[in-house]
Symmetry: D3
Subunit: 160 residues, 6 copies
Amino acid sequence: MSRVGVYPGSFDPVTRGHEDLIRRSLRFVDRLVVGVAEHSGKQPLFTLEERVELLKTVVAGEPRVEVTAFRGLLVDFARRVGASVVIRGVRAVSDFEYEFQMAFMNRQLWDQLETVFLVPALELAFLSSSLVREVARLGGDVSDFVHPEVERALKAKFAK
Amino acid sequence: MSRVGVYPGSFDPVTRGHEDLIRRSLRFVDRLVVGVAEHSGKQPLFTLEERVELLKTVVAGEPRVEVTAFRGLLVDFARRVGASVVIRGVRAVSDFEYEFQMAFMNRQLWDQLETVFLVPALELAFLSSSLVREVARLGGDVSDFVHPEVERALKAKFAK
Amino acid sequence: MSRVGVYPGSFDPVTRGHEDLIRRSLRFVDRLVVGVAEHSGKQPLFTLEERVELLKTVVAGEPRVEVTAFRGLLVDFARRVGASVVIRGVRAVSDFEYEFQMAFMNRQLWDQLETVFLVPALELAFLSSSLVREVARLGGDVSDFVHPEVERALKAKFAK
Amino acid sequence: MSRVGVYPGSFDPVTRGHEDLIRRSLRFVDRLVVGVAEHSGKQPLFTLEERVELLKTVVAGEPRVEVTAFRGLLVDFARRVGASVVIRGVRAVSDFEYEFQMAFMNRQLWDQLETVFLVPALELAFLSSSLVREVARLGGDVSDFVHPEVERALKAKFAK
Amino acid sequence: MSRVGVYPGSFDPVTRGHEDLIRRSLRFVDRLVVGVAEHSGKQPLFTLEERVELLKTVVAGEPRVEVTAFRGLLVDFARRVGASVVIRGVRAVSDFEYEFQMAFMNRQLWDQLETVFLVPALELAFLSSSLVREVARLGGDVSDFVHPEVERALKAKFAK
Amino acid sequence: MSRVGVYPGSFDPVTRGHEDLIRRSLRFVDRLVVGVAEHSGKQPLFTLEERVELLKTVVAGEPRVEVTAFRGLLVDFARRVGASVVIRGVRAVSDFEYEFQMAFMNRQLWDQLETVFLVPALELAFLSSSLVREVARLGGDVSDFVHPEVERALKAKFAK
C-alpha cells in the first residue's frame, strides 16, 4: 500500500523550515503532495504561480515530492490526490490551538483524513514566512532562513 | 431578584456553538440579552441587520432571550439593559488571554459587571464563526455547524 | 427559583483570592456551598477540620454562604446540596487546561451541572494557597494575602 | 519498506483515548509496538505486568499491534524494535510543551527517530489516565472512558 | 561601562503600561532609547510624529530617556544607538510566543543584542494600546490608562 | 553604580542551559550571585553542598560570578547580597505562568527587586535539570547537556 501525504500551506515564501518539514515527512509517507493554497484574506507577497515555482525549485531532485496549487477545501484536495494524511508543523502554542481547530474541522468534513504534527528542527523552530518577509522588507539578511533562489526573489520583490 | 445577563459578540454568523452557550446561560440568568456588536475593524460578512435577524430566527421560541444590536461600550450597553453578568464562552488558550484582558478592562470601567466564562459542548468546542465562513466560502458542508436558516444565508451570500 | 452554587477546593489554607471569588459568586447564586475537599494525593498542611474552621471564620457574617467538607465525587456532592452551578476561579493558562478537563468530565458524569469560571480581582490574580504556604514557611509576611486568623494559624503551624 | 511505530506511555490504565490513538496510528504505520514504560517516579496504580495485560486485552484481535514493557531510554527501545516513528497524542497546551521537550531530547539522542503527534477523537480529548483513576477511586462510573475489562480491574483495585 | 537599552514599540499611543516599563528599565540600564517604529502593516491611529511627540511629553523630566523614531531592522537601530539590551514587556501567553520568535530572530541577526523581558505592574498587566484605542473610540473613559496629554490627543482624534 | 543580580534555582544539577544564562546575565549586571536554593518539597538528587560545588566548578574562572547556598525567602537573600535584579530564564509557556506568579509575589514582598527574564540559547531551550536526571538515570548520554564534571557526578550517583 502506498501512503500519500499532503502538506498544505501558503508558502509565502517557502522557508528552510518548510524544507525541513518536507524532508521529515518523507520518512513516513511514500509520496508527498505540497499543496500551495490561494490566500483567502490578505494579499500575499508572491503570486500563487511564484510561490509554486519557488517551491518547485527548492524540492527539485526529490522525486517523491510533487508541488501543486489548490483552491477550495483541503479535504477535497486531499481526496483528489489520494492522500490519507495531512502534514503540519507546529511551532508555538498559539499556533497549535489554531491547528487543533483545523484538524477537528477537517476530520468532521472527511473522517478518512488524519492530521499529523511534526516538530521542526530546533534551529528552525522560530522561523515563519511572515518573519522572513518582514526582515527582507527591512533589508535584513535572510540567507540563513531561505533557499538562495528565494532570497533572490525576495530581493527582487522589495527592490521594486 | 431578577438576574439579567448579556451575551455580546459579532455573530457573523451565529453558530451551533453560540446556540449552545445561550442555552447554558439560561441556567443561571432569568433573562438573556444577546448583544450583536457592530464590527469595529474588518468588514463583516453579514450586515448588522442580517446578523440580528439570523439570531432572532435561531432563538425564536425562547421567551427569556432577547436579541438586539448595540453600539459603543459593552459596559454601557449592559447598564442600559439592567444586566449584572456578561456571558462569554471560552474555546482555546489564545482566546482566553484576550478574554481576560476584556474582563479586567470592563471591570475597571464598571465594577458592578461580572464576567462569567462557560465551557461549550465538547463537540462544538472547536467551532468558530470564521471557520464556518471559510468552509462555506470554499463550498464545504456546514449543516452540522449552523442552523438551516444560517446555512441558507451563507449559500446565498457566496452564490453572489 | 433559588439558585445554589458550589465552590469546591482544598483551601489549604483559604486566601484573600478565595474570599474574593466567594463574594463575586454571590452576585449570581442565591446560596453558595463552599465544599472543602479531602486531599487525595499529597498531605495537606492543614487538616480537613482546620481548613473548614478557617473558612467558617473567614465567611462569618455572610448568611448566604455555607462551608462543609466533602468526600467523593464533586457531582455527587453538588447533587446532594441541590447545586446547579460549580464556581471556579481561573488564574493562569496551565490552570485553565486542567479546569477544562474537569469541567468536561463533570458534565459527562452529570450533565445538569454547569461549570462557570470567574476572574479574580486583578491584585489577587497571582495568588495561590501553595505560594502562601511557601512564603509563610520561609518566614515571609503573608498578611496581605490571607485573613488575620489564617495568618495566625500559619504562624502556629510553622512555629512547631 | 515496512514502517514500524512505537507508542510509549505508562497506560495506568489504558483508556478509550489510548485505544483511539492506536487505531489512528495504524493508518500510517505497518506495525505498532505499544511500549509500556515502568513508572520512574510515583508509584503506579497497576503493576507493569497488569498494565501490559490490560493493554493486550484491549488490542486483542489487532494483528498489527504488539504490546511490550520497556525499561531504559525510549530511543534505545525504538531502535531495538526497529521503529522509525514515535506516536504521541496531544491533549492540551501544557501537555504539548512537555511533549516538545521530549521530542527534541529524543531527536538529540537519536536523530533517526521522528516524533509525530496525533489529535485524539474530540469526545476523548479531555480524557487522561489520572482523571480515570481519580473518578474510579471516588466510586464514579468510568464505563464511558475505559474498556469493560479495565473497568473491572479498577473496581477490583479500589475494592481492596 | 555605560549600558544602553532600547525599548522598541509602535506606541499607538503610549499608555501607563509603557511608562511603567520605562521606569523599570532605568533600574538596570544607564540610558534608555525609546524607539518608535513605523507601522509596517496596518494604518496607525497616530502618525509617527504624533507618537514620538506624545512619548516625549510623557517622559519629559527623565534625563536618562531619549525618544526617537526608527525605520528598518531593530538590530540596526540598536547598533546605531550603541545599545546592548532590548527591553520588552510581557503581558500574556500568546504575546510571549511572538516575543520569543522576535528574540531568537534578532539574536540570529546580531548576537551581541540581548533581549530582556520585564513584568509590568500588576494593575497595568492587562493594558494594551489597542484596548485603549478601542475604549476611547467608543467614548469610554481612559484617564486611568494614559497620561492626560494622551487622553486629550485621543479625544481630539475621535472628535474628528 | 555597581549592579548586582541574583540567579536563583535548585540546579539539580547545573546544565549547559544554566551556564548559558549566567553568561548572558553578565552582559547587564556587574556581579552575579548564583543562589542555590534548598529543595523545599521533593528530595533532590544532589545534596545542597554537591550542587554548590558543581556550580563552582562550572563557573570557575569567571571572577564576576559568586555561588552560594541560600535558605529562606529569595527577597531576603537578594537584599542581603545587595542585588536589585533577579535573573530568570524562560523555556516554555507553562513555565512562564509560574514565573509570573513568583515575580509578582516577590515584588509584593520587596518592591525594589526587579525580575528580568532572559531567553536561553535556542539549542538549549528544551533543556531542564529533570530531563537531564531522567536521561542519565536511564543510562543515556548527557555529555551535550552538562559540563564533564557534572556528567561524572551523575554517573557516580546512578552507579550506586
